[in-house]
Amino acid sequence: MSPASVPRIVTSRLGYEDSHTLERYLSSGGYEGLRKALTMHPEQVAAEVDAVSLLGRGGAGFPAGRKWSMLRKGPVPYLVVNGDESEPATFKDHLLIERDPHQLIEGIVICAYAIQAAQAFLYIRGEFALGLERVTAALNDAYEHGAVGRDIFGSGFSLDVVVHPGAGAYICGEETALLESLEGKRGFPRIKPPYFPAAVGLFGEPTVVNNVETLSNLPWVMVNGSAAFTALGAGRSTGTRLFALSGHVHNPGVYEVEMVKTTFRNLVFDAELGGGVPGGRQVKALIPGGVSAPWFGPDLLDLPLGQDEVADKGSMLGSGSVVVMDDTTCTVRAAWRITRFFRRESCGQCTPCREGSGWLERILLRIESGSGRESDLDLLMDVCDNLSPGLAWPPQQTTICVLGPSIPSSIASGIRMFRDEFLVHVKDGRCPYA
């Protein structure tokens, strides 16, 4: 199937200047998926979503339908929407929040109906001021239109949605930290078990936490049916997915492509996608799924964009962001900057992460600034091993959440793929790219 014939599931309205308005939404099939869902029984809606193998688009890739089915029975559950997009180089939810807020709201109401929630909280990254304004305006219109609130479209189903702004903390994208933050606390990830908010979530109640892009797929799934969705992609990676492409490419941006049928090479080089690397330079390395993911070399460019395909090669599609680094990139500097990010964003609960991130950043900076020693390479790997024993993928856990064990990804990748480059820094006493 050529890219042009693949339906645009979540980006169909983005060509319109007024894609965020109710008028545009209604004139392009908006809220039809919800109307259809409300004629079905909640468990049928859930079954439909379970059937499409909608892998969560936030980062962990956990199937949405499974998450819903794990809800502790009895209490009325909460729905919490994770719009705290903060994984470096990920900017797809930002786009959906600003440009198609009604699609997100419709997805929220469909999900809430399926799980029979009575209140949903839409946690949006605080830095998205325009997104917060757009979603708030859209929600006001949706209440007015009868798509949210009491007796939605005369169905007897009622739901309140509350837009909740974050305040700047990467860790709040971790779902249990997000719940803590939503309870008015510091964003400290919760100790597991209990593993799933479906059992113990917001204020101890059963809670479904789903990502913005995940829920934005639901209106299309309801209108077009599960078969149309699973006809796209392959294996467990069904449908389309948004990829946020950045770094050394001609056309950085967010692209909706069919999963598995598209490769990293397509994404980076196709004229209608990334358009290739500027200046005729070569791809040196790419980060396939957010800075928590181990890097790939150009030898893996032909790998399909599928969850299992990427996992088999020792990395992850993660948050759906691909960073291209060309042959002018200093990989020591890249690893240092990513490590610096983790050091700044570590919540500080767990010693390996709180202390390890700082040690690693300082050692990397020492090498980059020309004061490193050859033994620093082993020292880096040793500290990484303390954060994530064996440096396996997926990483072994030494901490409450996965932030800490994600830190070694870029460092171990850098040393394994570009050991000579690290050594040149040490031997020459300077960065060769400076």
Binding site: G126, P165, H248, P252, E345
Partner: protein, 211 residues
């Protein structure tokens, strides 16, 4: 502690926020934003009043507020400029841009200009990497920056040419939620009971012995 630091309007909006959540504490961060909208930063007086509004000690409010980058417990400039230097922006010249910004504003990252107009900060990824390098001014995005376009941005801000687009620091969301919660607990209880009964009777009718 000064009672009534928040204006009547801000206090009313804070009380509306509290009413949106199952527990008042959830409104803490939204109310911190509200207080910053009034004062530009979180003053000790505001913190004391927020604590009272959500039923916490002021120290607990400070404990939460200081965890988050966007909440300032010290005064900041009228415009807080946050320059992203994370990987996607770094690959497109963000550190050169930050250095230029420091020279242009004559302030180091983390500082505020002598006239109180600008605070400059180095930011982590702001999720706008398609137009890297980017910065935000009071959380409004400016992308595809160069040293020259940064200078223009600063001049436009100083001259008030961006007043419509960039409100003073602290004003996050200028669109107000219309109305509080519409679904009362009683409605929910009734609805959910009816739904459970409907499911049970359907299961019975279809002869499904598992339910």
């Amino acid at each position: 502690m000064t009672i009534g630091h928040l204006s009547d309007e801000a206090r009313r909006r804070a009380e509306e926020l509290v009413a949106l959540y199952p527990h008042p504490r959830s409104a803490l961060i939204p109310i911190c934003h509200l207080a910053q909208e009034q004062d530009g930063w979180l003053t000790p007086e505001a913190i004391a009043e927020i604590a009272e509004l959500v039923g916490l000690a002021p120290a607990e409010v400070v404990g939460t507020a200081t965890f988050y980058d966007m909440l300032h417990t010290e005064p900041v400039g009228r415009y807080v400029i946050t320059v992203c230097t994370n990987i996607a922006c770094m690959l497109r010249g963000a550190y050169e841009l930050l250095e230029h910004a420091e020279d242009r504003l004559e302030v180091r990252s983390g500082g505020t200009t002598a006239d109180g107009t600008f605070t400059l900060e180095e930011a982590e990824c702001l999720a706008d990497c398609g137009v890297a390098p980017v910065c935000q001014v009071n959380h409004r995005f400016f992308g595809n920056l160069s040293p020259a376009s940064f200078d223009t941005l600063v001049e436009d801000l100083r001259a008030g040419r961006l007043d419509g687009e960039v409100p003073p620091h602290g004003t996050l969301v200028r669109v107000r939620r219309q109305g509080g919660l519409r679904v009362d607990p009683e409605t929910v209880t009734t609805e959910r009971r009816q739904m459970a009964e409907a499911i049970a009777s359907r299961a019975e009718a279809s002869g499904d012995s598992q339910t």
